[in-house]
Every structure is written in structure tokens, then in C-alpha cells.
Subunit: 346 residues, 4 copies
Amino acid sequence: MMIIMKSHATPQQVEHVIEHVRAVGLAVHLSQGIEATIIGAIGETHNLPTELFETLEGVDMVQRITQPYKLASRQFHPENSVFPLAGSAIGGEEIAIMAGPCSVESRSQIIETAHAVKEAGASALRGGVFKPRTSPYAFQGLGEEGLEYLAEAREQTGLPIVVEIMSQVQLDVMVKYVDVLQVGARNMQNFNLLRAIGETKTSVLLKRGLSATIEELLMSAEYILSGGNKQVMLCERGIRTFETATRNTTDINAIPVLKNLTHLPIILDPSHATGHADYVAAIARAGIAAGADGLIVEVHMDPAHAVSDGKQSLKPEAFAKMVKQVGQIAQIMDRRLASVRFPVKQ
Amino acid sequence: MMIIMKSHATPQQVEHVIEHVRAVGLAVHLSQGIEATIIGAIGETHNLPTELFETLEGVDMVQRITQPYKLASRQFHPENSVFPLAGSAIGGEEIAIMAGPCSVESRSQIIETAHAVKEAGASALRGGVFKPRTSPYAFQGLGEEGLEYLAEAREQTGLPIVVEIMSQVQLDVMVKYVDVLQVGARNMQNFNLLRAIGETKTSVLLKRGLSATIEELLMSAEYILSGGNKQVMLCERGIRTFETATRNTTDINAIPVLKNLTHLPIILDPSHATGHADYVAAIARAGIAAGADGLIVEVHMDPAHAVSDGKQSLKPEAFAKMVKQVGQIAQIMDRRLASVRFPVKQ
Amino acid sequence: MMIIMKSHATPQQVEHVIEHVRAVGLAVHLSQGIEATIIGAIGETHNLPTELFETLEGVDMVQRITQPYKLASRQFHPENSVFPLAGSAIGGEEIAIMAGPCSVESRSQIIETAHAVKEAGASALRGGVFKPRTSPYAFQGLGEEGLEYLAEAREQTGLPIVVEIMSQVQLDVMVKYVDVLQVGARNMQNFNLLRAIGETKTSVLLKRGLSATIEELLMSAEYILSGGNKQVMLCERGIRTFETATRNTTDINAIPVLKNLTHLPIILDPSHATGHADYVAAIARAGIAAGADGLIVEVHMDPAHAVSDGKQSLKPEAFAKMVKQVGQIAQIMDRRLASVRFPVKQ
Amino acid sequence: MMIIMKSHATPQQVEHVIEHVRAVGLAVHLSQGIEATIIGAIGETHNLPTELFETLEGVDMVQRITQPYKLASRQFHPENSVFPLAGSAIGGEEIAIMAGPCSVESRSQIIETAHAVKEAGASALRGGVFKPRTSPYAFQGLGEEGLEYLAEAREQTGLPIVVEIMSQVQLDVMVKYVDVLQVGARNMQNFNLLRAIGETKTSVLLKRGLSATIEELLMSAEYILSGGNKQVMLCERGIRTFETATRNTTDINAIPVLKNLTHLPIILDPSHATGHADYVAAIARAGIAAGADGLIVEVHMDPAHAVSDGKQSLKPEAFAKMVKQVGQIAQIMDRRLASVRFPVKQ
């Protein structure tokens, strides 16, 4: 960390900053230039906020040289993190495709969908049972009943299940059922929830907040990793910008940037990132071409009658076509689609 | 709600939409124009999502005519909501000024600060005990110990206390101590937390999310109001934009817009909205001039040594000067600063 | 266009609006519902601003049903626009790849680069001679001298040349030399320039402004098209958002959205859209996978010594590798890279 | 400027950077720390882009210590710039209020409006004659005829006139008529236009682009100042963000930030910054309370029939009320409204 003093800072102010740097256990490297005095603060700085020094008198600015996260950083862990999911290896050569409805609506709906997405090439089943809805008057999900239906779908198809958790209070029941805990965009900085998940052994799909920076996403991953849970996937799902032609703006740049900064697998959600079924396949292809390790896609047997997100849900046939195209692009990228090797209950 | 059909929609598609509208209990008003057929859906539509109809075949777009919230709407409740806080009346003629440190750091710190801000003209004391920090390595707050210190500061000064709640799990202890539950920007759409708070009788300060629209803020208020808790203040605290010269961009427009749309009191947080102590007073004045009902301001006895947010904290003297200017602007707006009428323990 | 009256609008206000609608030559379709009276304004509405009616008393809102542009719209022209460039057909099956340095720096530089990018598979040569620089102290380009060098590079390689125009004043000289007039992001709404270009016969590459919506981009294209110049390509080059990890945020969604809304060819500029050479190939692949009709890429023989945009420029070898990958993705999309069929001067 | 080398940079790379620094005429201050080697580049760096060094091998990042503009900087010119306009002194104790219609529509309209705004307390008259319209089909302004009407209005009222210039081509005719050349948001980075204006002696009102940063605004001012024209006012007119409740988001923070960074006068345009007549007065008050040196406000005798911007135009009575409130706030800020002392032709 470099602390740049104002041009008119007094020797006393410089001295005072130096004392502060030493007081938090860092070494000092002093450089007295003509334009400015610069105090290098050397040591374990990733866990120190820059404001520790920014508020001291005479300080002009503080520039971080190393990243503010460590466990999530590729500097610290150069190899890709690869971890198992239903027999496939997330983060390695295989491309994971998680698919299913926004909400679990009924037993028959989720079981029928599970078979349909498996047939089309999915390697995991998604479905929401606790729904974060903007309006208090909207459908809020089936709760534990929905988890039982998902578990039954898993038994029948072998597809591992990915389900969103909204609150610490749901953690015990969720861990009992699900293969992947999804943390939604609105909870990306629900730090109590992140800490609690960090203490479990369940895989996590951490979605980027609507207006979270890439660095903040990595800091939130750090919360989970620092609790001991190493199986974290990051998910780009579109950010909020001025453009209203689509529900969100897919930050496709985030894919190569994240692959560069972190060893964790990167998943793209083209459904939320566009908000329109018509654009999902194009963005799914783009994501894999940009280097993503997987996709999470909303699929519904009858989007026009979905209780939520019907507008952005693919029908199984459209999904199957998308999977085929994505598989071809995966090949160019020297990768292949994951296949399910989970035991299926007969 | 108006459902605009595509120009080439078939009579069957129109009929199918009409059936849907009736199925959810709404009446139909059909208008067959030359450019488009429009189906008016009439009745209690504020609690229905537009996607209910957007996904039906032949539908071009759905336009809401009435607002998607009701209890928070000024249409539904034309008079300002005014509710008591420590003897003053929030939302009426009086301007509330809540002030204090970002974090409660020690007993002596909060008690000293409480006296200082009261002296300077504050009508409430703020202080965090559970801190949402971007980094897992940063100071996370004193917890219940901090609440006890705040309660003691209240006893000595008569200032009601405003404290941020981060999780449902903290609700019982918080309700026991605090006068105003603050919901932070990152939790504005933590719907489980909002529901739980809606069932209490404690006043709420609901902060706008970094990238939440004004409509989403009102929908979140609706969650609390629909639970029965009517004492909700809304807080503009800056939004995230492309501009990096300040920590956030104060959406000053939100103040007159919110005063127009809702009867709830509107508070401005110039500390987070700017992120720099040098700009706090200018934005505080602007907020009151634009029609805000109060301010929440970070004040620290020694900002350079604050454990958090020192950069944006005012020293008591600067705060006192700001209060004076704000009081003069309040007069022009035909208002006055609230004064504390809480009993002080001798 | 639908004009929705306020619920308490008087019959006189409704009558006044109806007169206004008729006065601008539109027919009226009146629909008196229970929630609201809606006045349909029928006829040629694409060239009328909604504010024409929004400001009338008693009007709640005005909703456009048809698009505010016509010549650029796919509704009006369902087939893709395909137009010739150096023997290849832009907007058809072929993928155009325009490449070259940000600035023409010298005769030898541009000639050497032209050969290098042609060798690597480019179908056009880009190079700036009038540079829009944020700082008045930065290099401003070689001017007409640079155009002569570009023309010589074209003679030697057969590559058509793409050059940015910054002002009407430059139009005569530009038209004399260039094959494609590039309108930069900062000039997307320089309407005088657009009108002037609309009166030429030279092909245009119209770049999206940093914070222009997709609709505004199409309206700017309409300016050129309405002047009679039909050879307009649109270029996504990244938008400005809160994310600072990359120079801009590639709005990859814009590619399928634009392909849906317009018949004009869509080009992606992965160099400006990312700002980092390391991310250019990933985003170029993503663009073609999402359906773009071409790419414009900055290539420099020695990026470290480029006078501008070195950070985002590819070396010829990296560019050649990118072209190869893009060609493979083009095949999956049932397309192929354009090849140059321009006569080369011996 | 500080050049921070990568942790694994070789001595050869460090040496190569040092040579580069010296080659552009700067001195070198080398600091070899443990975390990183830092090369200080000392001298006239404000006119050098950071990319000059960012692209060299081994460089991690380049941090500017001094600002990239000089003539616009308060560091360089600590006192407020105060310059005369119709007898009043812009940038000093007086608050300038410029008012008038978006477009000059007819002789009688602008003359009637000029008298009305003067009566209400305006100190300058605004009116557009060349209109930048998003749609090629919209009204484009009266051109030189409009300038003649404005000049006549000035003769009758003594109000100086503020008119937008859209292109270099208009410069000669504009300079002949107007007192203040307004550069619109869409032309803030039309560098050819800025250079041309820099060579005149006419005062300038430079509006911030929709998505321009504060630093970019100052860089654009630098273009004009470096040409020799020192009479530049900066204008905040709202930025583009995700919020759609208002036309733009007033960046009220920009006012104290700009007052801190530059000596140039700062004007607020509450009409474009909100887009709704209902919100103009609140934001005008906020702007003066935040420290702005003046306002530019759209006023129309009959907003419902304005050819442009009717929705955000105040009627003269509402404007008069706004001026009164603003005058009261000016007093609190130890300022007063400017009055016109221009000779009026009898």
C-alpha cells in the first residue's frame, strides 16, 4: 500500500503517518520525491482498508498495490479450482449447464422439467422455493415442500439440484436437501448469510449483485472462503446500467476479467442477464466463447403460464437447440459439456 | 393495466388474454384500434406483476396505469405521515437531525459523542453495532455490548437511538434497545428481514439500495407497511453511477419525487451520499432546500482515528456549523429543527 | 401512440387533447375505460415526439406503440441490408474484420501494419488521422498527410480504409480518400455531422455513444439514412457503467437486440469495449457468437510505443490467433470470414 | 506521476521505463521497495497521458499525482474567476439567473418571454436557434432569424443572451450576436468546436455531457482555456444513470466538488437535470444551497404548446416564485441575485 502525502504536508504529518503504519504491524519504505513524499506500507495489507490512512492529516491518497482479497485471488492460487458436482468437474474442462424453472410450482412441474432439461443436455437442475420478489403481493415460493419435489426430481434423473437461499434461517433445511446453495444478487452483500454458508461444506453459486463491482464480488467470495468452504462458483447475471432495452446488461467483460483475477469457476446466467427468451441463446453462446465455465438457464414447460420469470424462460426445445450450439463452441474452446454421472434411483 | 396486443395478433390470442385477465379477478375493457388492440384490465392491479400478461402469445407490451404499491402511495394516503420520535414529530414541520459515529467503538466514545451532537443541535443519536463490511477482515462491530452503551447515552442525553439491523436473527435484541431500526442499503431488498420488521412496532429508517430505483424503494417500504408497521422513513443515501469523484452520487431529484409519490418522511444521508467530510454540509443544505424531512449524518470526535467511515465523518464543530446553516434553510422552507423532549435520567 | 388521461381529467381536457391529435394530422380512437380514458393517435407517428401531448393538461402519460425511427427499422425493411465493401458483402454471410492502429503515426508504420493485418486475415484497414483526445495537450493526428499514407497502404494491399471523421469541415477531404467514414462515439449525436454524411455516398460506421441507448443509436442512424445514404453499419464499442475493471462495459446484449430491431449490419469493437489487449480476443469471439456481422480491432506493430491506445492494441501475432478463433466460431454460425477482392496495384 | 512496476519486473524493464521517462523530458525518482519498485516521473506531467507508460513491459499501473488539467485548476489559480456579464459579475457574490424558452419560436414569443423573465428577476435570456434533436424529424430551430429576435429582445430588456452553438460552421454568425455561447451536453467533447471557441473572446457556458466525469468536463474546459478564452462557466445539467423517474439525475455533489477543483463559475440547469416542471424549483433551491454560482432555467409562456421541452418549462409565475425562494437562500449563503445593468434601448 502506498500512502501519497500532499505536496505541502509537514514533516510532523509524515512522521505521524509512519507511526500509524508501524502501529498496525507494517514495515515502512519512505520515498521523498520532489512532487510528493510517498510512504510504502509493506506486509499483510490485503485485510486493511485504505481508509485507515486516508483520514490522517496530510495524506493525499492511498493506492493499494496488492488486491484486497487473498483466498479468491489467482495470485495466491494460480491453478483453476476444480471441484466435483454430480460426477462432473466444475472449473475444469467440462462446461456445466444448470437449467430449470425460476420457481418450483408443483411436484409434476419440476419432475417433468427435470426430465426435459436432462434430455436436452443439462448437467444440473435449478428451481427456486424461497423467492425474493420485489412486491410483497407476489408469489413467494413453496418452501420446504418445493425442496422435497426437487429431491425427488434428483432421484429420478440424477441431476444435482441448485436452489437459492434467502436467509440464514433457511440454512439448516437447505443444506439437508441441496447440492448447490445459490446466493442471489440481492444477497451478495448479506454478510451474515455469507459467513454462515462459509461454515458449511455445500457448494455455492454466488451471484453478482446488480451494481456490485467485480472486486466486491470477489470480496464476498472471500467471506465464504475464509470460513473454510472452498467450493464457490461465481455467477455473472447482468448489471444495472442506463440501458433499458434488456432487463440487465450482461457484463461479458467480467468473464475474462474474473478468469484472470481468480481461480474460482465462472458461470453465466443469460436468462437474468437479458430478461428475454429471444436473446438467451445468443448470450449463452457468447458466454462460453468468452471463457465461462458454465451456464445457468431458466427453462419452463409453458413460459406463458409460469408464476415468475416466464418472459425470460426457454421452452425445452429452444433450450435443447441452445445446448447444441453451446456444445459446438465448447469444442472450439477445447472443452466439452459436462455429463451427469450421479446414481439414478431405479 | 393496459395490455397492448401485437399488430398481427389473432382473434384467438386476444380471446386467450381476455380469459386470463378475467381469471385473476379483473374486469376487461376492450378497445380495438387500427394500430393495435388494447385490453384494459381493471380492478386491484397494484399487486399483480405485469409479466402475468407479458408472456402470453400475441402480447406486445403491458403498461401499468396505477402504481405497483398502495400503502406507501400518496394517492392512497394524501396527507403526510407524521409520527413521534422522542417528542418531536417526524414528517411534519420539524426537521429531524440524527447524528453520531459510523460504529460504536467504546462506551466513552459514544457517550462523549452523544453529548457533543446534542449540544450541536441533533435530535437523535446514530451508531452501528453490527457492521456490514465489504471485507471479511474488517471490524465487524461491538454487538449487544454496543447497544448497552447506546442505551446509556440515550439515558444521559434524551436522544433516541438509531441503529442498523443486518439480519432477522438480531431482531429481538434490537427491538429491546433501539428507537429506530435502520435497514441499510445492502439489505433494502432482504425481503425476509423487511417482513420480520413489518411485524414489530419499532420505527424504521429504510435506506435506498445503491442501485435501487425509487419505485423499488417504495416497494420495499410496502413490505414493511403491509405487515402493519406504519412508521417507516425513507432515506436517500446516494446511488452508484459512473462518477467516481465522490463515493456515491446523491440523487437529489429523489427528494421532490418521493415527496410527490409517497406520504412517508424522507431523510437524506449526506455522509454516505458524498463520502467526503468536505462536501457533507453543502449536500445537507441542498437536501433541506429540496424538501427533505431530516438528515442522518456521521459525526466522530476524532475522524482520523475512527474504525470506519472516518473520511466522511464530521468533527462536532463542523457538525454544529452545518446544523446552524440547515436551521436557516429550514426557516425559509417554513420549518424548524426538531428539539429533543425525551425525559433525561438525572 | 396512446395518450392516457389522468383519472380526474375533465371532458374539456379530453376534448382539447383530441383536437391536438387531429391538428397534427392523426386520426383518433377514443376508449373510455373505468381506470382511465385512453386516446389512440393513429397515423404516421414515428416522427412525432411524445412530448407533443405529454404537456397538455389532464394527460398522465403517452405510450408509443410504433418505433420512433422508420428507415432503420426491421419492421420497415425485414431483410438484412447487405452492401459491398472491397468485394465482400457486409451484412450478409461474410464476417468483416477491420484492423489497424488507433492513429496513423507514419508512412512506414501504416504500410507495414496494413500488410501484417491483411496477412492475418483482416478485410479492411483502420487508422485515425484526426484524433478526438480528452486532453488538449495530447497528439491530435497527422491530418491529410495520414490519409495519403492510408491510400498508399490500400493500393499495396487492396484493403479498403476506415477512418474517423470528427467534423463537417473534414468531409470533403475525407470523402476523397476513405472507403468507410467512421463516426466516433463522442459524435454519435453531432447531428450536423450526421446530416452532412447522409448526403454523401460513402459507407458509414456509426459508433454508439458511451451512454447512448440502443434507441438513440438507431435514431442517429435515421439521420444518415433519411439523407439518402443507405450504407450504414452500427458499432457497439462499450458503454459507460459503474464498473471500472475495464475501460468500458461491452453491451453484448446490444448485438441480438440490434439484429432484432434493425436490418443494418452490426459491428463490435472489442478493443474500446474492454480497453485491455488481454481481453480483446475473448470479447471478439463472444461478439461473433452473439451474432455480430463484423469486428473492428486495434492492432499495432509495437503497442508499447503507440502514440495512443497502446494498452488495448493487439500485436499482429495475437491478432492472427484471434482471427483464427473467430473464423471457427463464424463457421458454427454458418458464416465465413470476408476476404479481400479489391484490385491491388502492382 | 508514479509508475508502479510489477513485483516480478526485471531490472532491464525498470531501466527501459526510466529511459522512457527521461525521453519525454521528465526527471526520475527511483524507489525500490519490497512490494514493488516505484518510478516517480517528475516535471510537467499534466499534459502527458498515463498510457505513455502503462503499455511498457513490466509496468503494473501508473498513478497520476497532479491533475491532468492546469488552466482550469484551482491549484494553479486559487481565487475564483469572476467575469462580467451585462454589468453583473459571474463567479463572485452575485447569483446569475439565465432563463427563457428551449427554442426561439417566433419574434413575439421571445420578446414577450424576455420581458416576463426580466420582471421575475432573471439576469440573462436563454433561447435556442439551432436545436440538437434526437429525431431527424423534429423541429430544428429558426437559425439566424432567431438570433435577430433574441438581439431585439436584448435591446428591449437589457438582458444578455445565451444561445447554444452546435457546430464550428455556426461560429461566425453566433459570435456576431450572442453574449454567451452555450456548448451543449452532446458537444462537450466536440474538440474541434471547443478549439474554435477557445480562439474567440465570447463567454462560454460549457455543459457537462450526459455521461462525462467531472474530470472530463474540466479537460474540455481546458481545451477552451488553452486557446486563450478565459471566460468559461461550467454547467451541471444532470447525468444519465439507471434511475428513470426523472429525465436525468442531478449530480448535486458535482457542485461542491467543482468549487473545490476549479476557479471557474458553476451553473446548475435544474430543467434538464429533472425534466419535470414540478421538480425544477426544489432542485434550483438545492443548487444554490450547495454553492452554485447561478442557474439556467427553461421558461415558456405556454409550456403545453412549446415546440420543445414543454414538460420541463416553468410558466413565468412559477419561475417568479422560484426566483424569490432562490434569493432567500442566496442571502443565507452571503450572496445576492445579480441584477441587470445593461443599457436598455429606449
